[in-house]
């Protein structure tokens, strides 16, 4: 299992942002993480990536425990935080070189060129990040997440705020990355889930209310649309 989560919880004072969730994610499959705003999607992802300390429970990334072997586990993760934070004063290449340095990659300049090509940044590669449009910023965010060729990709709302053309491009890219990696994405868009996800977890008020494959969840609800299922489970 690339990601294995057991009874993971995060409490803020008395509020339970994430309440004892357990799930697993397999390589070669894209896991869609769904839920209304404030359900605990980002909090879960932040615990998986070592940004937040879980209140209780544990998470393993490629067999490394994120709380006890943090540095080892982080090496296996590519993470795109919500709203794609980037150093806007840096140039695209300079930034990717910096991220590559942080992962201690060898042969870095070849690798930077490779990811720039892969995410389709070639026409904008000499610009400052602050000058890029939202779609290209998102690509830089993806490029920094895959630069060390991680086994696990965790993408927090990677397609929010993109126009329809950019949506199609980014989704195709994620789909391709999902062929040999374990990908977890969070999203609000149901069409997106239908288009790229293999498995689905729906989370509501910090608890998992559905955990199934895309076909499985539809079968279990007699073929009603994903949107209806989502509304039924989280309303």
């Amino acid at each position: 299992m690339s990601i294995s989560v057991k009874n993971l919880s995060k409490h803020y004072d008395k509020q339970k942002a994430v309440d004892s969730i357990s799930f697993e994610a397999k390589p070669g499959r894209i896991l869609g993480f769904l839920g209304p705003n404030g359900a605990g999607k980002s909090t879960t992802m932040r615990m998986l990536t070592g940004y937040l300390e879980p209140t209780s429970g544990e998470a393993e990334i490629s067999g490394e425990n994120i709380s006890t072997h943090t540095i080892e586990a982080k090496k296996h993760i590519g993470y795109l935080p919500e709203n794609t934070p980037l150093y806007s004063d840096m140039y695209v290449k300079e930034f990717l070189n910096f991220i590559g340095d942080a992962y201690n990659l060898s042969n870095l300049s070849a690798r930077v060129d490779e990811v720039i090509k892969k995410v389709g940044l070639t026409p904008e590669q000499h610009k400052k990040i602050g000058m890029l449009s939202k779609g290209y910023r998102q690509r830089v965010g993806l490029a920094q997440a895959i630069i060390h060729n991680p086994a696990v990709l965790i993408l927090d709302e990677p397609t929010s705020g993109l126009d329809p053309n950019q949506l199609v491009d980014i989704r195709a890219l994620i789909k391709e990355l999902g062929k040999d990696k374990t990908v977890v994405i969070s999203t609000h868009i149901m069409q997106e889930v239908e288009a790229i996800c293999d498995d689905i977890i729906i989370i509501n008020k910090g608890k998992i209310v559905a955990n199934n494959s895309l076909e499985g969840i539809k079968k279990a609800h007699q073929g009603s649309s994903l949107e209806d299922i989502f509304r039924k489970l989280t309303a």
């Binding site: 932040r46 990536t49 070592g50 940004y51 937040l52 300390e53 943090t70 540095i71 080892e72 982080k74 090496k75 993760i77 993470y79 935080p81 709203n83 934070p85 980037l86 150093y87 806007s88 004063d89 840096m90 300079e94 910096f98 991220i99 340095d101 942080a102 992962y103 201690n104 920094q144």
Partner: protein
């Protein structure tokens, strides 16, 4: 860690922050040292840099907060801190990298002032009549003072997302660490402990190094001062988990 250090330093040098703050520091120190009549060395008549070394700590109280105020405040405001800490780097490495990058910038501000030393030594009668030992000691003292102020600045920057608040907290803490203990020790009720209290302040140790005698106690004081504030920073940033 080297990657973060390099990025910090380059981002100082590629933005105007470094040039403006260092430029103003050099401008003000030159004006006070050579041109303004009350503080001018030329009117003073002795070939020594004592005036400069007692002036710079006050300029550092503004220069250093300006350099360090962004370090954590901006990262947290822009959300890039999340990007950074989810890379395989420890928080401690990030803190040290930011601290060292800021300290290098302080060093960049100090290096051009060596010109003053050369000028004074040329102006002396006979030529070269200047107490070089005291000057070297004072520069070491200034560097250590800068390192202490920088650690305060990094700490202040971790407290808030607002750079202005970080600046003000840092300047306030620097002023207190430098002078506050001296004044506190002079309070009537505390006069019994005056020596102990002033020994906690930076000024006492700075003056002691400036005499040209590098005492290990002063060195230990400055190193532990920085470590304490960097540990506070780690506590603050780590506590946000």
């Amino acid at each position: 860690m080297y990657a973060v250090f390099k990025r910090e330093l380059f981002s100082f040098l590629s933005s105007m922050v470094a040039y403006i703050t260092i430029g103003i520091f050099l401008l003000v120190s030159s004006l006070l040292l050579w041109f303004f009549p009350n503080t001018s060395l030329l009117d003073y008549g002795y070939a020594e840099l004592g005036g400069f070394f007692s002036l710079v700590p006050y300029l550092f109280m503004f220069l250093i907060p300006a350099i360090t105020m962004r370090s954590f405040a901006e990262e947290r405001r822009e959300g890039t801190y999340e990007l950074l800490i989810t890379k395989p780097i420890t928080l401690w490495q990030i803190i040290i990298a930011k601290y060292l990058a800021s300290l290098v910038l302080v060093l960049f501000a100090l290096i051009p002032t060596l010109v003053y030393y050369y000028s004074i030594s040329e102006l002396g009668f006979p030529k070269g009549n200047i107490d070089s030992g005291a000057v070297i000691g004072s520069y070491i003292g200034l560097f250590l003072l800068g390192s202490a102020f920088t650690s305060i600045g990094i700490f202040a920057s971790s407290l808030t997302k607002n750079q202005v608040i970080a600046f003000v907290i840092c300047a306030g803490l620097c002023a207190f660490a430098f002078l506050g203990f001296d004044y506190t020790g002079q309070l009537i009720t505390l006069q019994k402990f005056e020596n102990t209290i002033t020994a906690l302040g930076i000024n006492e140790h700075y003056v002691s190094i400036s005499r040209g005698v590098l005492d290990t106690r002063d060195l230990i004081y400055f190193v532990s001062f920085s470590i304490v504030f960097l540990l506070f920073t780690k506590l603050i940033m780590g506590g946000k988990k």
